[in-house]
Structures are given as C-alpha cells and as structure tokens.
Symmetry: C2
C-alpha cells in the first residue's frame, strides 16, 4: 500500500504527528507500507524565494537541488515521529530510492524506480517514508517533478511496487461534482473514471496532478483521494468499467487560471498559426484553447488561452509574431474563466454540448470560445459569470441528485455535437502541468 | 585550492552574494577551486529544533537526514549566485561527492572521499560548491560530522585533492594570543603550529574544530584561518618547523564551558575510578581534567570536569556510582573556568608551569585543579577570576610584545615542572568534539 500526504497534511509539527498516527494505524493492516510526503506547506515557495533572491533567473539545476530539501525535511520529521511511536520507519530521498528521471530540471519525468532499497526496508518491517516530488538524473543531479509532483511520485512508487492501491491524502474530502465554494449543491463523488479525473484536472479541478492520473491510468492503479482530517472514504479513481455508473456528466469544473489573447486581422494563409505559436512553443508556454475565426476578406482573428503565469512573456512574443505577420491589434483579456462539463457517458450520448450551451444561454452567460474532447466540453466565459455558469450546469445535469444516467434511450457511438458554425475549435494537448 | 565559509559567512542572502564575489576573484588565481559551505547561521539549530518537536529523543539517523539539508540549501544558493555572476559552478552534497563516513550518526568520521565526481566538475572548469558537515555511510544513509564538522570536511577534501592549502573563512581575523574580548592587548598570530592550534582548540579557543586540526596535521595540510569580511591574511596553521619562531608560550586560552564535579570520601582502593567513570563513558560523556587527592584515612576525594551540556546526566550517573561505592557527598561547581598556556617551546623550556602558577598567585587567582601536557598547562579557577587570570598570563609571557623566545638559555628536553605534591594530575584524552 502506498499513502501520500500533501503539503497541508504535513504543514505543521502537530499535523505531522497526526499523520504519524494515521500511518501507525495503517501499518497494522498493511505490513508493507510506503508513505510519500510533500514539503511542509509554504516551504517550497520559501526555498524558491531564496533562489530568486540569489539571481533574477536562478540556475535550474541548483534550484532543484535547493527545493528538493523541502521533502527531505518533512520525510525525516515524519520518520522521527513514527519511531517515537514505536513504528519502525526510515526516510528515503529520491536518490536513495534510485528514482531515475530525465534531466529536465523543475519538470522532470520519472523513467524508472529501482525497488531494491525500498524492498530491503520493507522486509525489515520498516515503513518507508519517501520524499515525493524528486528524483535523480543519469548524472546524479537532483531533479524535481514540478508543482504537485508528489502525487506522481506516489503513483509511480505504487506502480513500481505493484501496490494494491495508492491513497492520496489531502485537505478535501474527495472529488466533487463541482467546486463546493461556488456551488453549494455540489456532491462528493464515490467513484470517478481515470479519464474523467484527467479531464477534471485539466479543466482546473486541482485535487490531483494531471500527470499522476495519466500514470495511474496507464498502470491501472486505483487511486483513492481522501482527507487527512476525516474518516470519510473519499473518492476512488479507477478504470472506466462496470463498477462506475455511466452518467452523461460526472462533474462541472472551472478554471480561473488563464488569460485570453486575441490577435486581430492577420493574413489567412498557410503558416500563420505556425509563426504565431513557434515562439510560445520554444519558450515552453502551454497553449490551451485555440479558436480561429473563418476569414471574410483574407484576414482572420485568432484567440487562445494561456496560464496567467505566462501572460507577460506570451504578450511580448505574440506582439513580435504579429508584427512579423503584419497583423493588427493584440488584445489580452485577463478576466476570463473556463467552465467544463466532464463525463465518460458523453461518448455515447448525443446533444450534451447543445444542452450545455442552452443552459448557459438561459442563465444569461455569454460564450466566448468553445473546445471539446471525447468526454469534455469547455466554454470560455467572463470571469464575473463563472459562479452563475457552474450553478446552471450543475442543476441542468442533475448532479445534486446523482446525475443523469447515460446509455438509456439515446443512440450510442454518436459524437458530441459540434460547436457553432464559423468557429473552428481545436484542442491543444496540454502538457501535464498542474496550475 | 579549498576554501571553506562558515555559517556566519553565509548567514544571509547578502553575505552569500559577498562570498560569491570572493570566490569569483579566487577562481581567477585558482582554476581548480572547491568551496565548502556550512548551513546558514541558525539553520542547523532550527532543524534540530524541528526534530526535537517531533520526539523527545529524535532518532539519530533521521535527525542527520533532516539536519544535512541545511548545507544543501546554502551550497545551492552559493552556486546560483556564482552562475549569476558568470562563474561556472555546481553544488555537490556529501553523497554526490561520495564522502564515505562510518555510521555514527551526528558525529560520523570521514573514511574516504572518491574524488572522481569532483575532478570531473573541476575539469569542466566548474567551481565545486561542496556541502560541509555531511557524508554517507556504507548503507547509503546520510550522516553528519558533528558541530563544526564543515572545517573537517574542508580539510578532508583538501587532503583528498592534494590541494596546496585550505583556507577557512570565518568571522574573526585569525587566531589570537588570547581572547580579545577579555584581553585588549591580545595580538593576532601570523602563524601557529598544528599542535599548538590543537591545544588552543581543546582549551576553548573556538576558531577551528579540533578534529580538523588533527586531520590537517596528519596530512601536513597548511590551513589559513581568515575573515570573510577583511583582506587581512589571517593566521597560517602549519607544521612545527623552522618557519615558526619558537616561543615559550604562543597563547593564553580559556574555556567557560565546563563544570566541576567532586566526589568526597570514597574508598581509596583499586577499581574505584573505573566504577566512577564507567557510566559516564557508556553515556558518551567526555571527561576532561581529573584530579584525585591522595588519601589519609583510606578515603579519597576525586574531582573532574565535564561539559556544561552533560551536567545533569553526569550528576545523576555519579550519584549512582557514589552510592555503589558507599562514598560521601557529590558536589557540583557550575562557576569554574579553565585557563591554559600553550606553546611548543615548552617542550624545551623548564619552569613554565611554575611561572604560570606564580603569575596567577601574584594576581590573586586561586588554582583549584591543574593538568599538563607536553605543550600546555591548564588551571581550573573560579569563573569570576578568568579575565584577571588571562590578562596576568598574557602579560607575564609578554604576548603583547611578540612573546618570550624559547631555547635560548634554558636547558632543553626537561619536562614541565610537575604540579604541587599531594595531587595526582591526569590528562584524559578528550575526544575531538568542539564545544
């Protein structure tokens, strides 16, 4: 069994002691227990702040070496607390566990885990308290996996050890049908499919790092999201099989973390999109929704969304590209939100997108951009209307009452209805980066 | 060349930037440069505090894993600052440098250093920013070398790399003939012999960790102690050869870190000392000066000194042993000091101890205990009289004026005069622990 405790769960000395109690109880049931911890809440930001004080653009290798200490501290503290309770425990850093990654500092990917050191400790009866978020590249440099990377560490360890399940302890009770802060009717889900969870994550539901869900899906590793501060069993994220009731829509998700950039009146000819997005791609900026309006006079408008954090750099690069293309104005809208409906039932259920647009229309919410995937429809709307939109969609798809059942009367295998004419919607592959 | 910067030298962001400037300058002269850093001042105590909050007796392995992060942080920060200045640099932790130690957590000893990783970085033209104070045992556990262990790391690295010299940067200008806070006449020494430095360290002069001096002496590695905040060349610690002018007394040293324990009226028979000190030895408590008075009625008194930090545990263990021996009262004196004169010239110079006793007598300082070595005489006195004693000895041996020359007229090879009759003085080997 692998358990993971996030930064808020180990945020103080008292909370680490509480986690030690949970782990001590779990050890009775699960003799082979690996516990993955994040840095104490705020510690990663404190360390990044130190790096930022040393240089305007701190060296990535050294920043990773600096930041990786956060998890070493919390892992050692938890091991001390466990031993104090008489539970044999040993902390292990990424290098000690031989968690091999590529050399992409600050967003490394795990390549392999050599389980021998972990196995030796487990055989000795010790709980392994593993540092999340970090590994070591082939040259022995410390690397980190990016924000939220401890989720990925936990799932990767669970997969490497062929664990029965990976429990992610966090500060919420589980995954909800919508953000309870916006939508008081939101209900906790008992179970959700991997694919649904991935789309929820990419649409702004921050319960799990998207890459960890991808990894869990690839290894078919059940993940339970639950609260450190409650006995509630939480939400089980699992394969899309008969255990999950097929609903048209599993949840409504929203994301306030993006801005919208529009480039007006650029020539509508091949290579324009390439010119526009080449610079962003080089700079490692992930583009989410892209919409290009069909042209009428040989000129076209292109809009897309990027994360707020990339706003300044994006604007600069796009203005440069627009000049090159002899295009018109570049407009940046900082007050947008994305609102999405997610559900594997959509695959076999026509008219879901149309129903979403109708619900938003009835609520008086204007849609600025639309993008769809197999099991998700996303609309870009004004930030000020996001609460109204989430509530309207939650009600329309009856999520307060368990959701509308799928597959009953509607014809199967029909695709989600396409968005309005005169709009080409593309879905850009978003790299697995938690916002 | 190896340079070491202590906790006060890297105590703030600004100071680390200052160190980066010093290192950048040194790199011009010394293309192969290894810089050893301690944790930022206060950081080790903060981390030990976290360990102490988790458990009354935190596990030693986990405490080492926790505390070792302090140097990783400062090393990465310095490497970031160096790279920001265009100086190629790379931080390396104890395990990354393959600094092998024994498994004695919190006071490990370095067994070997594999220089290959360091050499590769040096060959690439990089400054290696090495974490002091830490290593890895044969099982891959992180270990730490004990307080002040970064000095030892620096000397060990210098020896392994066959460096020309090891420069220890600290917050004082160098080694003084006495503590300038007590004795305004104290003068900075340009040079001091290894052995003298060792005795100064053991007698309370806290400039260098004693074990690092021992290591430097064993490898004949010249060490320069100098200030991070001054261009002064500091004090060169080197072999006792013709380069050092032979003085009777090189310096006066004092130590307020001990307490005195006296056990009254215990039977004067074989095995008594063994019984008395067995428990202390098991508990790892270092005993310094021991004095046993000759008995008159089959009973004897034994006095000894231990570090303040060990006071409570010592008292408990000694009371137990005294009961076992059916001895009398145990008295603890918390207000003692040790004052010592140190100089290699003593070896060939008779009457130095007598001159010390005379000087203290004339200053009205009462001597409670005496101990001697080849190149040191130590007296235990009342704490209240320490300043008077240091000043009197500093004046008597003319240290304000460069010191009294040795070997001129006095007969060589005669031992230091023995302490008063009726007192057997023993010198206990003090383990190399900086107080």
């Amino acid at each position: 069994m692998v358990q993971k405790f996030g930064g808020s769960s180990v945020g103080t000395v008292e909370r680490i002691k509480h986690v030690a109690e949970l782990v001590a109880k779990a050890k009775v049931q699960h003799p082979h227990l690996v516990v993955v911890v994040s840095a104490m809440r705020g510690e990663t930001d404190r360390l990044l702040g130190l790096a930022g004080q040393m240089a305007p653009r701190p060296d990535p290798r050294e920043t990773d070496a600096l930041v990786a200490t956060g998890e070493q501290v919390s892992a050692a503290m938890l091991a001390i607390a466990l031993r104090d309770r008489g539970v044999p425990a040993v902390s292990m850093s990424g290098p000690q566990m031989l968690v091999r990654t590529d050399g992409m500092f600050s967003r490394a990917r795990i390549k392999s885990i050599d389980r021998s050191a972990i196995d030796r400790a487990l055989m000795r009866g010790q709980v392994v308290v593993a540092t999340g978020f970090q590994g070591m590249d082939d040259e022995g440099n410390l690397t980190t996996l990016g924000r939220g990377g401890s989720d990925t560490s936990a799932v990767a360890l669970a997969a490497a050890l062929h664990a029965a399940r990976c429990d992610i302890y966090t500060d919420v009770l589980g995954v909800y049908t919508a953000d309870p802060n916006l939508c008081p009717d939101a209900k906790k889900l008992d179970v959700i499919a991997f694919e649904e969870m991935m789309e929820m994550a990419s649409a702004g539901s921050k319960v799990l790092q998207i890459r960890s869900v991808e990894l869990a899906m690839n290894h078919n590793m059940p993940v339970r999201v639950r609260s450190t501060f409650s006995d509630d069993p939480g939400t089980l994220v699992t394969a899309d099989d008969e255990h999950i009731e097929r609903l048209v829509v599993r949840g409504v998700s929203h994301d306030n973390g993006d801005i919208k950039v529009t480039v007006r009146r650029i020539p509508d000819r091949p290579g324009v999109a390439a010119t526009l997005f080449r610079g962003l791609s080089k700079a490692g900026i992930n583009i989410d929704v892209i919409v290009q309006n069909a042209s009428e006079d040989g000129k076209t408008d292109v809009s897309f969304t990027v994360a707020k954090a990339d706003a300044a750099q994006t604007e600069e690069l796009v203005r440069e590209a627009a000049r090159e293309l002899q295009g018109g104005n570049v407009e940046v809208d900082h007050s947008i939100s994305k609102v999405s409906i997610v559900g594997v039932g959509m695959r076999a259920h026509a008219g879901v997108a149309a129903e979403m647009f109708q619900a938003l229309h009835e609520a008086g919410v204007n849609i600025a951009m639309i993008t769809t995937s197999e099991i998700k429809v996303t609309c870009v709307i004004a930030r000020a209307q996001v609460e109204k939109a989430v509530k309207a969609l939650h009600a329309r798809f009856e999520l307060h009452a368990g959701g509308k059942k799928a597959t009953s009367t509607t014809p199967a295998a029909k695709k989600v209805s396409k968005p309005k004419p005169k709009t080409k919607a593309k879905v850009a592959a978003r790299r697995g980066k938690k916002r």
